[in-house]
């Protein structure tokens, strides 16, 4: 009897899974097309499709392939990366309010990028590939600092301690950043200000190339660990009982999450809340099993950022609103809503 219900359940699950994934994919394609014809130079959907298949004018090709397409690809990658990073952090801390932004990881990555920008000219090609590495160093240092500060003898980590420490560290880092910005030349200041607001500034193919390896390595690694995350979700005693070496798995996953967040932040600047919202929405959609939750989270995150980026370019043409602002305007109320329902 049990097996029958299980398989029936499984079949229903599979249907639901395929349905959810295809709806999300369709939405992404739709926004993708809208995003392709949004901007100062307007292109009709037909022109976009024509150009994509090689039938456009030189100007249309330039706009699409050199400006819009890389930016859209980057939005998708960042969205997926940040969302998965948040999902992992929530999974291992078993705290539904964890997110690389709230925990101060973004701020740490940002500080490092900013230090680099203030002391080196960033016009050459090499730094582009260096930025994710630097951001990773900054993010890891911050993560380590937060862990050290929040650790309490005999009690280990407590979710609230981690969150409060993260908020404080983020506040300290942003104060340090304000001090640093004042030493910058006007052009660099402009760049940093936009960067901090979470604008997808690296909108060319070389940034895609800089970001892609990180995503390609870390996303599959996290997906591969889905079963481990399910076990960790049961709580430490249970997980240990089931034979998982909890601390080591937690550290591996945390490292992956920090790497994802850092490489995304290096290209996108301070985009917060994606890592918070996407996993939550996905859990609503497909439940807490990570085999399904992780891919859905990645899609939801990608959808969120590409939508925010498109909206940001559309609202006040010809100028644009940084994506981070749009995401915060959507994300913060959702966070407050979650908070009002939480028991933490």
């Amino acid at each position: 009897m049990e097996t029958i219900t299980n398989t029936m359940h499984g079949r229903k699950d599979k249907k639901r899974k395929i349905f959810t994934l295809s709806v999300l994919a369709a939405l992404i394609v739709l926004i993708f097309l809208i995003s392709m014809n949004t901007g100062v130079i307007r292109l009709s959907p037909l022109e976009v499709i024509k150009t994509l298949f090689g039938g456009g004018t030189d100007k249309q090709e330039l706009v699409l392939f050199e400006f819009r397409l890389p930016r859209i690809v980057i939005s998708l990658l960042i969205g997926a990366g940040l969302a998965i990073s948040g999902c992992v952090m929530q999974g291992i801390s078993r705290n539904e309010l964890a997110d690389p932004g709230i925990l101060g990881i973004n701020a740490g990555a940002g500080l490092m990028v900013m230090l680099f920008i203030s002391f080196f000219p960033s016009t050459t090609a090499a730094p582009v590939y260096l930025l994710p590495v630097l951001a990773l160093i900054g993010a890891s240092l911050t993560a380590a600092l937060i862990c050290v500060l929040a650790y309490k003898k005999n009690q280990g980590f407590k979710p609230t301690g981690l969150l409060l420490t993260g908020i404080a560290v983020a506040a300290g880092i942003s104060a340090a950043m304000i001090v640093l910005t004042l030493r910058l030349s006007p052009e660099k200041y402009q760049f940093v200000a936009t960067w901090l607001a979470g604008s997808i500034w690296g909108s060319s193919w070389k940034y895609v190339l800089a970001l892609l390896p990180w995503i390609l390595v870390l996303l599959p690694f996290v997906m591969y660990k889905a079963q481990v995350m399910n076990v960790l979700n049961l709580g430490e005693p249970m997980a240990t009982g089931l034979g998982a070496s909890v601390t080591r798995e937690q550290l591996k996953l945390l490292a992956a999450a920090v790497g994802l967040a850092a490489s995304c932040v290096a290209v996108s600047g301070g985009i917060g809340f994606v890592g918070l919202i996407a996993p939550h929405l996905s859990r609503r959609l497909v439940g807490a099993k990570h085999q399904l939750l992780l891919p859905v989270t990645a899609l939801v995150g990608a959808l969120l950022v590409i939508t925010a980026d498109t909206l940001g370019r559309w609202i006040i043409q010809p100028s644009e609103i940084p994506t981070g602002i749009v995401v915060a305007v959507i994300g913060a109320p959702y966070f407050l809503y979650l908070l009002s329902r939480s028991r933490a």
Binding site: T165, G172, P322, V329, L336
Partner: protein, 351 residues
């Protein structure tokens, strides 16, 4: 820490010992603090891009001669700036003290609870929709904005199961601040008042003019006098609602009056210097350590120490990286963050 967490900032055993406070410590702080404040103000006036010796400062203040450039610098730029800084410091510190006393939340502070961000948002709206609005009205919007921030943060945190815990308030405050500053930035971009906003945000104490002080002063004086008048009731509230009610207090009324005072103080301060955090967090804690838990002593002492902190931080902000100005808020945050971490760690079990 005792099991009874009616007031996380003090232990049960301490209540009996220190409830009366330490008037002698308070007297020492008030006299010493005021003396240090006067010295700090004098130094702050004399040091800067153009160094002016103290004798000149004395003359500029008491025997003002409009023909002397140095006197003009002092009268027009430095004096309003340093006096404004002192006023703002008192505002943030007293508002923090009242909040911590009323809510019995050791992490309460106008910055952490979203009041500063709310006031900043209201000011962004004013810059966008009513450009050139006189400061007299700007300050009113600032009060309203602070109120909006407070209502949202308290509303959201109190809706949750388990009610208003300090952690929840801080989290709600952080999220709301992120939202409101994103909205302010977006609006500023849309209406292309980014430059004005940036000036106001980064301006810190540098933008303070006599006209600000003139309009701010009556509000602040009234609010601080109100706070002092209310201080006895706040001491009772800080023991817990039940005890306060048992002692015959009308807690609802006291809380309402206290909230209005907090909004006026935080709103006025933010409208002049932008969102400076952590003063209201640190000063009341330090003061409580020094004078005990009687708010009749805490409130005036907090005012003096808060002024001192901002005046010194402002001086430091000008000396760190001359000729550039470092925003005073950043300097205070660099001191305030470790303090917050310390508190969060210490109070963790109660949170």
């Amino acid at each position: 820490m005792s099991a009874n967490t009616s007031n996380p900032s003090l232990t049960n055993s301490k209540i009996h010992v220190t409830l009366k406070g330490r008037p002698w410590a308070a007297t020492l702080i008030l006299t010493g603090g005021v003396a240090a404040l006067v010295l700090g103000i004098a130094l702050s006036i004399s040091l800067g891009a153009a160094d002016i010796d103290l004798r000149n400062v004395w003359e500029a203040v008491f025997f003002f001669n409009p023909d002397v450039t140095e006197h003009q610098i002092i009268q027009e730029l430095r004096l309003p700036r340093v006096l404004g800084g002192a006023m703002v410091g008192a505002c943030f510190a007293v508002s923090g003290a009242i909040m911590q006393g009323m809510t019995r939340n050791p992490l309460a502070d106008s910055g952490l609870l979203g009041l500063n961000a709310g006031a900043g948002f209201a000011i962004a709206l004013c810059f966008s929709f009513f450009p050139g609005l006189p400061y007299m009205y700007l300050i009113l919007f600032s009060f309203l904005g602070a109120g909006l921030g407070a209502v949202l943060v308290y509303g959201v945190s109190s809706m949750a199961k388990g009610g208003l815990t300090p952690v929840r308030l801080v989290l709600a405050g952080a999220a709301l601040s992120a939202l409101l500053s994103a909205l302010s930035e977006g609006i500023a971009l849309y209406f292309q008042v980014g430059q004005d906003m940036a000036f106001w945000y980064a301006g810190g104490t540098a933008g303070i003019k006599w006209v600000h002080l003139k309009i701010m002063l009556p509000w602040i004086v009234a609010a601080i006098l109100g706070a002092i008048a209310l201080s006895r009731s706040i001491t009772m509230l800080s023991l817990g609602d039940e005890i306060a009610r048992g002692l015959g207090q009308r807690t609802g009324l006291v809380k309402l009056a206290g909230t209005v005072i907090v909004l006026v103080l935080a709103g006025a301060a933010v409208s002049v210097v932008g969102a400076v955090g952590f003063v209201g967090l640190m000063i009341p804690h330090v003061t409580r350590k020094l004078v005990g838990v009687d708010y009749r002593l805490i409130i005036p002492c907090s005012a003096v120490l808060g002024s001192l902190l901002v005046v010194i931080a402002d001086l430091a902000a000008r000396m760190v990286n001359p000729p550039y100005e470092t925003p005073v808020g950043a300097i205070i945050a660099l001191i305030g963050v470790p303090f917050f971490l310390y508190l969060a760690r210490k109070e963790r079990r109660e949170l």
